[in-house]
């Protein structure tokens, strides 16, 4: 892709962001709303600039939580999906519980998690895994089940064991679906980190962007809270596209067979 293609591809997003920021600025400048409730974009920009050190120091723990948390969530989700696929009784036992786990109000268990694992990163990771693992389970189970039964018959006549059928056919067939699940998981991982930070106590000077946002809201530092949210926003997008790059490495056939060669 040439530089010119890149610019053309990015253009719609740039135009949309500029239009949205312009509308926001005009809305606030017209005096429609108190700036403690909604700061103007230029104020958010100033807050971003003035607090760059604080925000990046708070991004570090949040990024760590999201990075490690999403990896754990993918591992747990994928492993659970595989187990559910291979053992039918497990499907009946675990699936309803996995669905139910998505309804747990995290604040309810936050104190318990801190009681168990302290003020460190562990309770946050647990919350992120809890929030993110489910889409990976569903897409993995569906992906594994999507293998053509005729394909399995063929492998059977080639004397493949159950494990070999899994390794040669089911696992690679499930990979694109599982990666789609990972994308969904990643998209919610950042808000998961916010929930994790605000529902479990933390010690230390830089508790993460989620905590920072809550503290700023309480201190009426609304523009700094928005600046922190902008950092989360950009971070989430960056994570998502990192995964998209990874996907082309892991499952190139899923793209090429759709004629999308890049």
């Amino acid at each position: 892709m040439t530089m010119r293609d890149r610019i053309v591809n990015a253009l719609p997003a740039v135009v949309l962001v500029v239009v949205a920021l312009g509308a926001w600025e005009a809305y606030v400048d017209a005096g429609s709303v108190n700036t403690f409730v909604l700061p103007a974009p230029h104020e958010v920009g100033v807050a971003l600039w003035n607090n760059a050190g604080l925000l990046s120091a708070n991004l570090a723990p949040t990024a760590e939580e999201v990075g490690v948390g999403i990896l754990l969530a993918l591992l747990c989700g994928f492993a659970l999906g595989v187990l559910i696929h291979l053992f039918a009784p497990l499907r009946r036992a675990v699936y309803p519980l996995a669905v139910g786990s998505q309804a747990i109000p995290v604040a309810l268990i936050g104190v318990l998690l801190v009681f168990w694992w302290g003020f460190g990163v562990l309770p946050k990771l647990f919350v992120i895994v809890l929030i993110c693992f489910f889409p990976v389970v569903v897409t993995t189970v569906d992906g594994l089940a999507s293998v053509d039964p005729e394909q399995l018959k063929l492998l059977r006549t080639l004397d493949a064991s159950r494990w070999q059928a899994f390794r040669f056919a089911e696992l690679p067939a499930a990979l694109p679906a599982a990666i789609s699940g990972a994308r969904i998981a990643l998209a919610v991982a950042v808000i998961g980190a916010y929930i994790a930070e605000t529902s479990t106590a933390t010690s230390g000077p830089y508790p993460g962007l989620g905590r920072e946002i809550d503290a700023d809201i309480n201190a009426l530092q609304t523009s700094r809270a928005y600046a922190a949210a902008v950092v989360l926003f950009v971070f989430a997008i960056a994570c998502f596209y990192t995964l998209a790059l990874l996907e082309r490495r892991l499952a190139p056939w899923a793209h090429r067979s759709r004629g999308d060669i890049r």
Binding site: P149, K153, L158, D159, A160, S257
Partner: protein, 276 residues
């Protein structure tokens, strides 16, 4: 679907009446004339959509000698696929018995794995038999060269034409190392020109790599051009209504007078079988 539920040991004899008695028959590869496939009075029904059993095969008997290419011709839905799955040990007969060497199946759809190259797809059976990857590729590569597929080793399945995909699928079947190949309408999805090319190719491939073959097709011409013997089946429930010895020199063309005459005989037998 639980394909791995019941163990399938070395011998491939299924006896519907006495499932516990599993005779040890060795594959016949010496050309002594003893049958390599012996299907004796086999019946097989499966549950239909509304729960009523559908009789796919009723009292069908067939045999093929070692090295022979037996074509089974019949109208669509006469239980041909069921027959092959029985021979391959994917199903068990309700009644009757099947004696044969372990068989490899080549389905109508190539079922190549999209994430493997053509070469790795062809070498799949070797990889399953735990042959190291490099050695498996080497053996598949040698066969690619022998059968006119060189240059396509690294192509992914979606880059290949339908005919090429079937060739790769056939090489995969050959590399299973089994003496008996079951081809289930292997060229049914191809256009007419490609199909004729594939007939020539398959005849020469089997000339180089002789195997016992049971070819199932609804294309009478295909059966006559390729087979040593043709078994004509009735509509469901399938049974053999006629057997034709082809016994013509190869290569055969579909326009050869002998081929045309045999084709007419087979078509008449098919029509009689259907009118029963």
């Amino acid at each position: 679907m639980n394909l791995w539920g019941n163990a399938r040991e070395g011998s491939n004899v299924q006896t519907g009446l006495q499932p516990s008695r599993r005779a040890q028959t060795r594959p016949q590869t010496d050309g002594s004339g003893a049958p390599a496939v012996l299907v004796r009075r086999v019946s097989r029904a499966y549950g239909g959509r509304d729960g009523a059993p559908v009789q796919a095969l009723a009292d069908i008997s067939l045999h093929a000698a070692a090295g022979e290419l037996l074509a089974v011709v019949g109208p669509s839905g006469c239980g041909k696929t069921t027959l092959l799955e029985l021979i391959c040990g994917l199903q068990r007969p309700d009644h009757g018995s099947i004696e044969c060497a372990p068989a490899a199946l080549m389905p109508q759809r190539d079922l190549l794995l999209p994430w493997l190259s053509a070469l790795d797809n062809a070498a799949l059976a070797l990889r399953i038999a735990r042959v190291p990857r490099a050695r498996a590729r080497e053996r598949a590569g040698a066969l690619f060269a022998e059968l006119g597929l060189e240059g396509f080793e690294l192509a992914r399945p979606y880059e290949l034409s339908g005919g090429m995909r079937q060739r790769v699928a056939f090489v995969r079947t050959l590399l299973s190392g089994k003496q008996l190949l079951c081809l289930d309408e292997p060229f049914g999805a191809l256009d007419a020109i490609t199909r004729v090319e594939m007939h020539t190719w398959l005849a020469s491939a089997l000339g180089r790599e002789p195997r016992t073959v049971v070819l199932v097709t609804h294309d009478v011409e295909e059966a006559i051009v390729l087979a040593d013997r043709v078994a004509v089946c009735s509509p469901r429930p399938g049974r053999v209504v006629a057997e034709l010895e082809v016994g013509l020199e190869r290569p055969r063309r579909r326009t050869d007078p002998e081929v045309v005459a045999l084709r007419e005989r087979a078509l008449i037998a098919l029509a009689r079988g259907s009118a029963r």
